[in-house]
Homo-oligomer: 547 residues x 2
């Protein structure tokens, strides 16, 4: 009777860190062997991390990748493993393939290449890889296993359908189990989509699915883990936690999944999930970059308050430095609210008024600016003066500057390039203002951490007397709805107006989004939490003329 | 006897400007018809411009594209045309195709889709398009013509080979002529590569080739035009000029190319070509963005001097404003050299010392910075103070800030983020320092425009007393050679050391390049003039750990 003990290895890999990654893999194999595991499954591109991008253009990088796979294979004595990586292929076309190596008896017994190469949004696999031309099952202890690397299981989803269907080929060859080593990035709603796809596929082909996902924050991509196992009826049997490394094993016997111990992790509410995600994103970004301390501008507004709170949770209150930089337009309330926040969180803070710097600029420019009306130029000097102070502190003490712009602002260009658009990491650049409020309410649900004043005051950039965001923008609920239709759903002007919004307002907002592509071109990397974030996954031409 | 009068239409299209683009196409057709032309060939993606990138995700954009193709077809009465664009396809896979429409009798008679979709460097066509599954010839007045869209003619070049060879299919069907509507971007050395490929292909298949290239500056891509015709012996018969719109017709009779009039444009020297390219890049960028005036920081150094000279040539001396912003570390010479340059060029200039602003920052930060050593933080305050002044002038008067960093500096991070890395357009961000010198010598060859002092003085950022670039970097000839091996040729550390360079120095330089990816992530768009420029064509992970 075929019986197989399979383990899911959900690991946080670092791109390019062959030594660290293979050491984690070897440790896992060592432990698994002692636990009597037959087969350990690792995530996609395990040895090099997903996604090395143009590091793949360097031959030494591929050499290291191949060497690492060989080295890992050597340790597969008395245990089998499926380990992802990149290997060269000898045919025409792209010279590399995204592969899963089936290892046992101290060597790579079979190399399975990926067939469906995602090339949309943040994915650009066709840039690097040659697709597999055919699929072949492997046999482990009499069990026929089909390996479908990540997208290979996503032949058909939403309205999109690929030309090939690797699963069908594997099922025809008698696959009793589909193993799906993945690097499936997070966004709000992604887990529902995954569940739908895995459920449909396991039901359709009456085959259990083992999905092992990568974990970790990689530049703009964040992997949540949540590896899982479905039985052949489309029922989720095992679900690994989000945002932590985990191993979990099950028995595959008579085509049944058998488990003992805890096998289930509930999915949190959407807002709790978003909160956890952002904290993990900050923490893992800092950890992988070798940073410990952060700095940010604390304006007394809701965006910086949220980022400061998230950063304190992620890095520890003692590692977050708040800098208050009031100008003559700052309200008294802003300063006291910002101080109250830092005190609630236990962060150090400095107060550095920009009055003197601002005056020096005015003085320096007086010969040129005399007889001109005060306007945008003067407002931006303030925002940029603050950025210089923050960067000076960053340069001096090594604190990494966190950007505090939200997605609504970044969309309409309601932010100053080289001013509040500065930073090493944009924490909430993929979070609309309405969600910023929700997150703050969530944070405050038991104890008031973010002072109520900050949440309740009307949003203002405070760059001129009595300025309010609503002076030039509709209320955020309306704005965010329109932005979501334009950015996430790629609706056009006419289609959005058809939804019942005021035509003039829709036109104005779309024009603002388009006109401000140049600012986003130079913006920091953003923690991606939506299906379409600004950054490399949304590539718009700057030199263009369109609606 | 089959005889056909064919015209090459080399036009500067704007991305997304359907009205402007189709109007240019219609004008060309109207004139061609009166001149007795049978067939007019336009470049790739003519109606929408190459490359609309993620604008292609918007259904309205595709609608406009298809409508524009239909509208152009209607005007093809008594004349035929080959017009590039994007159309939907009804099969599985990507829903769009990159097509060339064969138009006559007032309608689209045949749609030819592209087979080979470049997806490397700046190209990402597999992100958007489904490849053609087969190729079919068209027949125009008894002449059998094969249409091969751009890359379709590049089945094999350098060491790369595609799986399919569209030309072979077309030749098998009896194609007597290959028409190659293209969007082939410029870089130094590209024209030689093109000549090699076209010559080889026409010789191999004994078939004439008509290559019609796009013209224009499109964000990071610059198209030089230089459309050309090869006879079936691999001889270049016609060569259209670079950097200007042009029409040229020839008679195709008995499989021979017959021309009258001027048919040849000599290729300039490499440095003259680079000079022309950068000037065209600035000019066309400004024109398409609707800008007229530029501003830049004039340091008295060679980089800003070159950019100021190029901008004056591109936009007119009266449209370039130089801003001198001396600090206490600026030499007297720097100021007088910068003034001499502006006077030579006829540019307006302002002198805005940053002393006062710098003092205000020191004063503001004194409580935090006291007892710390003066260093990078203080140096960067200077660079960033200058950026604020320049951006203030830009905001106030509408002058667009030109970035003056060269490729060597951008590579090793010898530039300040939010300081001298600011700007709307990086003019020489793809030009190594050694080429900067060559360009300045070229500019000065008949008259001294750039003061000799500027060219001869030792490079320095002048951010601290007696600072010299060579304090921390090898001489530029060595540095640039190493950078070229690393960036353009993707050689690794060991391979570069094998070329005979000092190991410690190579390691230091590579580490500097790697460590500064985060700065380039937020850098302005660069005029691409090399086979591998920084920007979207070189996508490196930030969160990574590698050599």
């Amino acid at each position: 009777m075929a019986s197989l003990k399979i383990s899911l290895a959900q690991i946080n890999f670092t791109i390019g860190d062959f030594e660290g990654n293979t050491s984690k893999i070897a440790d896992t194999l060592f432990t698994a062997k002692r636990a009597g595991i037959d087969l350990v499954v690792f995530s996609e591109l395990a040895v090099c991390g997903y996604m090395p991008e143009d590091l793949l253009d360097f031959p030494w990088f591929i050499d290291k990748c191949e060497q690492s796979l060989e080295a890992v294979a050597e340790s597969c004595q008395g245990i089998s493993a499926i380990v992802g990586g990149v290997m060269r292929q000898s045919g025409v076309g792209k010279q590399l393939q995204n592969v899963a190596c089936f290892m046992q008896n101290g060597r790579i017994e079979k190399v399975i290449a990926k067939t469906l190469l995602p090339t949309y949004d943040v994915f650009s696999e066709a840039r690097y890889f040659q697709a597999a031309s055919s699929n072949e099952i492997i046999v482990v202890k009499d069990t026929k296993i089909g390996i479908a690397i990540c997208e290979d299981l996503w032949h058909h989803y939403n309205s999109f359908e690929y030309e090939k269907n690797p699963i069908e080929e594997l099922i025809e060859q008698g696959a009793e189990l589909i193993i799906n080593p993945s690097a499936s990035p997070y966004y709000v709603g992604k887990e529902e989509l995954r569940n739908k796809v895995f459920q449909e596929q396991s039901l359709k082909y009456q085959v259990p699915i083992v999905h092992v996902n990568q974990l970790g924050m990689h530049t703009e991509l964040l992997f949540d883990g949540r590896s899982k196992v479905y039985d052949s009826n489309g029922t989720k049997i095992i679900s690994l936690p989000a945002y932590e490394e985990a191993n979990f094993s099950f028995q595959f016997e008579n085509q049944q999944i058998k488990t003992d111990g805890k096998t289930w992790n509930d999915f949190p509410t959407e807002i709790a999930d978003l909160y956890d995600t952002l904290i993990f994103g900050i923490r893992d970004y800092f950890k992988k970059m070798g940073f410990t301390k952060a700095v940010l501008g604390s304006s007394g507004g809701i965006d910086s308050a949220l980022v400061q709170t998230l950063a304190s949770k992620a890095l520890g209150a003692e590692n977050v430095l708040a800098v208050l930089m009031p100008s003559k337009y700052s309200s008294e309330g802003s300063i006291s609210d910002a101080i109250a926040l830092s005190e609630n969180l236990g962060n150090s803070y400095h107060v550095l008024p920009i009055t003197e710097v601002h005056q020096a600029y005015e003085q320096t420019l007086v010969s040129i600016f005399q007889d001109t009306a005060v306007g945008l130029a003067e407002e931006n000097i303030q925002a940029r003066s603050r950025a210089i102070l923050l960067m000076a502190i960053s340069n001096k003490f090594g604190n990494i500057l966190l950007n505090t712009s939200n997605k609504s602002e970044m969309a309409v260009g309601y932010s100053t390039l080289y001013g509040d658009l500065c930073g090493s990491l944009s924490v909430i650049g993929d979070v609309y203002k309405t969600k910023v409020y929700e997150l703050c309410h969530y944070i405050n649900q038991t104890t008031t951490i973010i002072p109520q004043n900050i949440i309740e005051k009307e949003p203002s950039a405070e760059l001129r007397p009595d300025q309010k965001d609503s002076d030039s923008l509709p209320e955020y609920a309306v704005l965010d709805s329109i932005l979501r239709l334009y950015i996430e759903e790629q609706r056009g002007l006419d289609e959005i107006i058809m939804e019942g919004y005021d035509p003039t307002m829709v036109q104005k907002i779309i024009e603002m989004v388009n006109r401000n592509e140049y600012k986003r071109y130079q913006a920091p990397p953003i923690i991606k939490v939506s299906s379409k974030s600004f950054g490399r996954g949304r590539s718009m031409p700057l030199v263009a003329k369109y609606q």
